[in-house]
């Protein structure tokens, strides 16, 4: 088990607090609350400079820390409002409890990660029934009502909208993956051809770009040899022996 908090980027206010406390511990210095408060505020200021979003939670934790610090600077108990004192103690306990919960889940997350890694090596079968077996279709159940399906569609579409995309701009970008597939099909038919011939059917310049990228990709994989005697002559494409194994293109989404 490791409780070191190593992130140099402050993912959250709790993370920062944890980091400050544990890094002090590594220095083998006694951590004093006032050091902690000073550093916390310093980081808060730094983050504001970095124009990161300073959330209310950062401020709340800072406020709690300052209150705790102020409380200690006061001479004696009798001058302190007991209710306020109690509230402050509660706030401190809550903060500590959150820090502990945070560390607990961080630790158990590493166990889950290990479990996931272990099962990654186990591959199950996704093929389904043998071709000659036909399940009786009447037994097919949807498992959901039309209304539930609508709610599901609602959620998926909301989810996809949450990340802004450019779909509604209707750019209709041609797919390089598709162009790769098409080029391979054509080269399957003709062992040698040229780029102009395989792109003769294209209308838009963008499509031509997609095919050009596709050609480069195929050449990179060693599936195609592309040659050109000079800049004006046609690009001759020649199919080569396909290497074995899976080809993963960066154009595949």
């Amino acid at each position: 088990m490791t409780y070191e908090v190593r992130t140099p980027v402050y993912e959250g206010p709790l993370e920062l607090l944890l980091q400050l406390i544990t890094s002090h511990r590594l220095d083998v210095t006694e951590v004093s609350l006032s050091d902690l408060v000073t550093e916390y505020l310093a980081h808060l200021g730094q983050m504001r400079e970095m124009d990161l979003e300073v959330t209310s939670e950062f401020l709340m934790i800072a406020a709690t820390l300052i209150q705790l610090k102020a409380r200690r600077l006061l001479p004696g108990d009798d001058t302190v409002d007991l209710d306020e004192d109690l509230l402050l103690a509660e706030e401190r306990d809550r903060l500590l409890a959150r820090l502990l919960a945070n560390l607990t889940f961080k630790d158990v997350a590493t166990v889950l990660a290990l479990r996931f890694e272990a099962t990654e090596m186990l591959v199950s079968r996704q093929v389904g029934l043998d071709p000659e077996i036909t399940p009786p279709r009447r037994e097919l159940r949807l498992g959901v009502t039309a209304l539930e399906l609508a709610r599901l569609a609602d959620r998926i579409l909301q989810r996809s909208i949450a990340q802004p995309d450019l779909d509604h701009l209707d750019l209709e970008l041609p797919s390089v993956s598709d162009a790769i597939a098409d080029l391979r099909r054509r080269l399957e038919a003709d062992i040698e051809t040229d780029f102009d011939r395989v792109t003769a059917h294209l209308e838009r310049p963008l499509e031509l770009v997609a095919y050009f990228l596709a050609m480069l990709e195929l050449a990179r994989w060693g599936l195609v040899e592309a040659r050109q005697t000079d800049a004006r002559s046609p690009i001759v494409l020649r199919r080569t022996e396909a290497p074995a194994g899976v080809l993963i293109s960066e154009w595949d989404s």
Binding site: L129, L142, P164
Partner: protein, 192 residues
């Protein structure tokens, strides 16, 4: 390395017959050794009366279930686990139902994950089908729902699908997306 176990594993995950040549490449073993291992695997499965058989079919080798066990498999096909649609399949079905005709790429984009397997399942079950191809160079296949889907969902027609809430991006997003295209006018033009 145990070539017999490795071949068994490869054939287990394969969704089509695998040629001896391909096995030879994947396992980096000479064809003769592959041939021997294939024979041994077939004999071993038969000897211990496994539920699987190894068969050479057009184009290569494939594991199948033993024919005499097919009645159980047909019964299994109708049982809850086999008949139930996975979450991924249901999500894909929902997207196809409401966005048809829709290409595989668009479904993946909306769901945020590849949806090929889910689409294949839905196609096998007769809930979705290819209903056309997209115009343009890609010729992407376009999917839509089938009559079986309508029947199983208890709908008379697609027009009876429950309406969705209007999914428009919030104004802030629209504003950000429009910004670069907006003519820079000093006067406060108040579009959208």
């Amino acid at each position: 390395m145990d070539p017999i176990a490795a071949i068994e594993a490869v054939l287990f995950v394969a969704d089509a017959p695998v040629s001896a040549g391909e096995l030879s490449q994947v396992l980096e073993l000479p064809p003769a050794e592959i041939a021997t291992a294939l024979r041994t695997l077939g004999e071993r499965l038969a000897a211990q009366s496994s539920g699987l058989v190894l068969r050479e079919v057009a184009g290569g080798w494939r594991l199948y279930t033993r024919p005499d066990l097919h009645p159980y498999l047909e019964r299994f096909a109708a049982s809850p686990t086999a008949a139930r649609l996975s979450r991924a399949a249901l999500e894909t079905l929902a997207v196809v139902a409401y966005r048809q005709p829709v290409a595989r790429g668009q479904i993946a984009e909306i769901r945020g994950v590849d949806s090929e397997q889910a689409l294949r399942t839905l196609e096998q079950r007769g809930l979705v089908d290819v209903i056309g191809t997209a115009p343009g160079s890609g010729q992407a296949l376009l999917y839509g729902t089938t009559e079986t889907f309508l029947e199983k969902a208890g709908l008379a027609s697609l027009a009876d699908l429950p309406p969705l809430a209007d999914h428009v991006p919030p104004p802030t997003v629209v504003e950000i997306l429009e910004r670069p295209f907006r003519p820079e006018e000093p006067s406060s033009d108040s579009r959208s």
